[in-house]
Symmetry: C2
Subunit: 128 residues, 2 copies
């Protein structure tokens, strides 16, 4: 499957402490498929993080809600920081203390949700 096209339609697999972290080579390849995301290290744990800007708080809140919904579907939960005009989303896999392919899948899905929320807002704006 082509990562750039396909990552966002993949499903998460169940994870346990022996699940594989992505290798450095896989990480570089997967990162190129999720523009805007960066690997950040906190307390020795690699995580994927992206800041999403919004023109209005209700958009930021709608985004947070939809990210939460896709998270619950996959039973894989990010940390989401919701502020007045931006939302910061962080994905990593607690069970392995680092990054699993699941995290890249969820980051890709999160990017799609962002595009949908912003497009939805444009649509709403037009109809007014």
């Amino acid at each position: 499957m082509n990562d750039a096209d396909g990552l966002q339609v993949e499903r998460c697999v169940a994870c346990h402490k022996d699940s594989p972290r992505v290798t450095a080579v896989e990480q570089a390849k997967l990162l190129s498929a999720i523009p805007g995301w960066a690997v950040v290290r906190e307390g020795d744990v690699a995580r994927l993080r992206r800041v999403f800007p919004f023109g209005a708080y209700r958009q930021a809140l709608a985004f947070t809600q939809r990210v939460g919904e896709i998270a619950d579907v996959e039973d894989h939960h990010p940390v989401v920081l919701t502020e007045a005009r931006r939302v910061t989303v962080t994905w990593w896999t607690h069970a392995i203390g680092g990054l699993h392919r699941n995290d890249f899948i969820m980051s890709a899905k999160t990017g799609t949700v962002f595009e949908e929320v912003v497009a939805g807002e444009r649509e709403t704006g037009k109809s007014r």
Copy 2:
């Protein structure tokens, strides 16, 4: 108005950079009306913070959503950190770089939202 009873039904007033911070005496009195909240200092700015625990992610997400809705009604926006089983809410007034009575009002309202979300969950649980 009795702070313990009335804070949560007060409305926020419009704030500008010359609006008054709460005094130390007011702060102590107002804090006693919002159990669970603590004053934290970050970069010289006092803020009100409380961590809300949840048994399930969908509860945490519902809480985040409802806190966002009351924030938008009052046009006063917190920072909300949504994790798998807990939500951390932080209120302060950017315009004055500290705490305004508005922040205590919003903290009281946030506490009520928490009680409602938890009570709603119990109700849902019963009906299953």
